[in-house]
Symmetry: C2
Subunit: 568 residues, 2 copies
């Protein structure tokens, strides 16, 4: 079925001109990209043959089931669904469907494969069906901006990174007017189903849409898919979110390279900040893959109520101990969201927002008298550049921009100051040189690993099966991921079962709770067991670049291996 | 011959405990690292059979041959040497040699393979020979710090990145005392030969050592090897320096990922600074691999005598044109050394160094009156943060630290300012958001590509052959690199032929001139031909991660392909 392509000279790599004038128009593909397009994706065996759906027991909610029941009267309590071999193939292949798909939120490697999974399901199991891609995220639903996804349109995006096939967006469908707009769009397109590919918020939104459509007696079903490189959307039935595997492997490649550099040069401490604001899964996974000398896990900092000074001292103590072994170099991993985990920083920022809203910052520092003692102490402890940043860089609402603080640079300065103090005291005699790194955008759009390619394809294919089976308000769930692909299980989990409520503006709002790093979970415990050895010896591992064939090409994340192993 | 290894559980990847207690002691290797250790390296066919050396014509110098002749009375005019099939195997295999090897300067992927190439040559062609590795660079020669490199010692480093087998250093052997120390070391170890693996400076130093030893009638021969990720050590006989291929592929992987991210998100301009201070080869190669919207090549900026304002305007003009096509995103590559190529910046810095040595920076800015008009204008044009950095951050000699300026951030600020101006004028209406990246350390220590692995092994193997053949003052030269490996040519080029002189402190000093990006060369011309199209359309290529097997694994750099194609 592959369209033919004009391949240009070897210097530019193969040039691919997709037959359609939309899509990756006149894109030029590298040899590796090209080779991935036709990469054959294995399917779990249950998806390769006729299947039927088996419902599980009635579900509840992650918390406050009574409130969730009130918010989702039609959907609450739905059983989870599992695909099992059997059923009649004829029913499945004679029903034509109209399905919409939307990408929501930040990019994660594998999104294109979810879409091609849905498409291929429809092609193979519901011939004559139509798949629409909403452009630019949920706004595309509200504004009815869409494209019909055809075989030719999808082809160049198979197994490719990015979300550029239909792009994504961060809008939410929230107000009654917006729900009405969504209703009009799905009715205009006569949609039987909608697949929402997104993180915790987007899947909550998907469930609200499912409830809304059901309440209005509309035929449109809604299925979610778990997407986020941060790895914080997961539960027993949904063992991981897609993109996490690829992003962590790309970051770990870079960390491994920096480690070999550190050991070869012997004179730098590399402070590496990694994406992941709400949870530290990425940092933990990269630590398990590479064995850095120091790793800060936000959830542990919060649990131990550590201050910024505590974190600094922890780092400095290890640097001093390493110096005794003549190791004046190392690698330190820091989660992007570190300072969000430190209560005293949150207090300081709240106070600053309050003070700066009313007062000007006088040169003599009289304004500081309005800070509480604890916040003043912390403020004085911060490096001058960070103090300045807190005072000067404000968002349009006048608030301090915490996200703009380069935590790795801040820590380098604080470590420098503390080491200088210890030099004065005679407890440290060496030269400290810090190098800062931030690995973020580089990992969100990489070519999906074999794992993410296959996992996403199964998620999409399974979502098609759930829709065709009349399911709504479920999140596509592919599990048993440590087994060979043929043995992966496929089904759907009630989105309401993942929910709790939060009180906002006097109302209960449903939320899918982010899965944080569990300090009692197997990945953290494994890390905790080894970190002291990693701190003082150099046990660096360099995972190297992601491979698509040969050794290492079928590796899955340490987090998944350990979590699934622990459940077994 | 492989020692046996204990492989631990799958979670940590294979653990390798080298049998020796030195080396990568108790290192833990990833699956990919492990698979690379036993990767079989092909040799050029001339190295697989008995060979003999054929001398070429008498050589001259890159410039000022009379002065070079005076500086190298024993070596000047040496012919280049080429290995050809033939000769007697018996002579080669009966002579035992004692050889030293040293890594000099910054790291480049493949250094370990040069060493294993030398080692294997000695094992196979001069049984009973000894190879010493000097520790920590040229200082190891001067201080006689070395390790005997055995099969077991070398094994875990085969095809691995980094220089950690014996580490490197940036010291130079310069003073008469230092030459004397080197003499004592090679005499103490009774060395027949020394291989210096390094960049232009280190190879100049190698030639000075060769001349010194020859002058003293010592038996120690010296052979250089071309190392630098910057790609600025090359000539007709030495088509590329090792490490360039791997580093550029790693950077291009990251750039390609950022491009897909830019296109998917549709709202950021990514400013990517790339390593390469003296020459812009890395930036040019990455541009040829990935097709960014804007690429700044330092050599062109210098040739066109562009000012910082010109560079800013060039970028802003393209951003405005792209906005007309509704592309408010893009990717911009900048060489690390950009501002070194801009004469007005050099003038400003020279004036600042002069003024700041004598005056204090008064708040009212009276000190600025001492700047020339041109420098004052430039200073006022710079973003405040950069002004401050120029005034405050000084090295121990009181000089402005140009290297510390984050050029990509500076350009973002200047572009912001200019776009703001155009908004006021009504010629630009959109939102500009810049994201900065620096790709440097991540590329210096990656796992060497198949190309670098094989090229380095041949360089080392060939260096062994040159030493055994009694050659000195040559740089190991492996060429015909676009042909299959069997057809690669092997030999040595007179280091004096690469040299010119520079006048320093009233004396002539020999230098191997850095190979800059040639504006008339094929790689730049190809880039210049396409850049306007890349600027306005999006022709992004995402090369993906380096592959060791399968599609893309045998790719060689665009620069090499184009340069060798152009010579053909």
């Amino acid at each position: 079925m592959a369209p033919s392509f004009a391949i240009n000279d070897g210097v530019n790599g193969g040039r691919i001109t997709p037959p359609s004038t939309t899509g990756r128009f006149a894109s030029v593909y590298s040899e590796v990209q090209n080779s991935r397009i036709d990469h054959n994706l294995p399917l779990p065996s249950v998806l390769k043959n006729p299947f039927k759906i088996v419902d599980g027991a009635q579900s509840s909610a992650a918390g406050n089931p009574d409130e969730i029941a009130k918010l989702f009267p039609h959907l609450f309590g739905q059983p989870s669904a599992t695909l099992v071999p059997g059923g009649s193939d004829t029913v499945q292949s004679h029903q034509k469907l109209k399905i919409g798909v939307v990408l929501s939120g930040g990019q994660a490697p594998g999104g294109h494969n979810v879409i091609s999974g849905i498409f291929d399901y429809l092609q193979e199991r519901a011939k004559g069906s139509t798949l629409y891609g909403f452009r630019g995220g949920p706004a595309g639903i509200m504004k009815c901006k869409y494209v019909e996804l055809t075989s030719d349109y999808i082809y160049p995006y198979r197994n490719q990174g990015g979300f550029d096939m239909i792009r994504s967006g961060r809008d939410k469908i929230e107000t009654p007017e917006q729900f009405k707009q969504a209703e009009e769009t799905v009715q205009k397109l006569d949609l039987d189903g909608l697949v929402v590919i997104g993180g915790d918020d987007s899947n909550t939104n998907a469930c609200l849409l499912a409830e809304y459509f059901r309440n209005k007696n509309m035929k449109t079903l809604v299925i979610g898919c778990p997407k986020t490189i941060d790895g914080d959307l997961k539960c027993k039935e949904v063992p991981t979110s897609f993109g996490f595997d690829t992003a962590c492997k790309i970051y770990s490649e870079m960390i491994g390279n920096v480690m070999i550099d550190a050991r070869s040069t012997g004179k730098y401490y590399h402070f590496v900040r990694l994406m992941g604001r709400a949870a530290s899964h990425i940092t933990l996974e990269c630590a398990l893959q590479t064995h850095p000398n120091i790793t800060i896990i936000g959830e542990e900092v919060a649990a131990k109520k550590m201050t910024l000074k505590n974190v600094t001292d922890y780092i400095v103590d290890i640097i001093c101990k390493r110096a005794e072994n003549n190791y004046n170099y190392g690698v330190i991993l820091i989660p992007e969201g570190l300072i969000d985990f430190i209560p005293e920083v949150q207090h300081l920022i709240a106070e600053l927002n309050e003070i700066l809203a009313h007062d000007i910052v006088d040169k003599d520092g009289l304004w500081k008298k309005k800070l509480t003692d604890q916040s003043l102490k912390l403020f004085e402890f911060l490096p001058p550049a960070i103090q300045e940043q807190l005072l000067l860089e404000r968002d349009p609402h006048g608030n301090v921009q915490v996200a703009k603080i380069e935590t790795e640079k801040m820590l380098i300065q604080m470590v420098e100051t503390e080491l200088e103090k210890r030099k004065q005291e005679g407890t440290y005699k060496h030269i400290f040189k810090g190098q800062s790194h931030f690995f973020g955008y580089e990992g969100r759009c990489g070519l999906p690993t074999n794992f993410d390619s296959t996992y996403c394809y199964a998620l999409g294919y399974g979502a098609g099966a759930l829709l065709q089976s009349g399911k709504t308000g479920l999140i596509s769930s592919v599990a048993n991921l440590c087994a060979p692909v043929e043995e992966w299980t496929v089904g759907g989990t009630a989105l309401t079962a993942l929910m709790d409520v939060e009180r906002r503006h006097g109302k209960f709002k449903p939320v899918i709770k982010k899965a944080m790093v569990e300090l009692e979970g197997a990945p953290f415990k494994k890390f905790a067991l080894w970190r002291d050895e990693w701190a003082l010896k150099n046990c660096y591992i360099s995972p190297g670049p992601v491979q698509f064939t040969g050794p290492g090409s079928d590796a899955i994340s340490r987090t998944l291996l350990l979590e699934l192993g622990a459940q077994a």
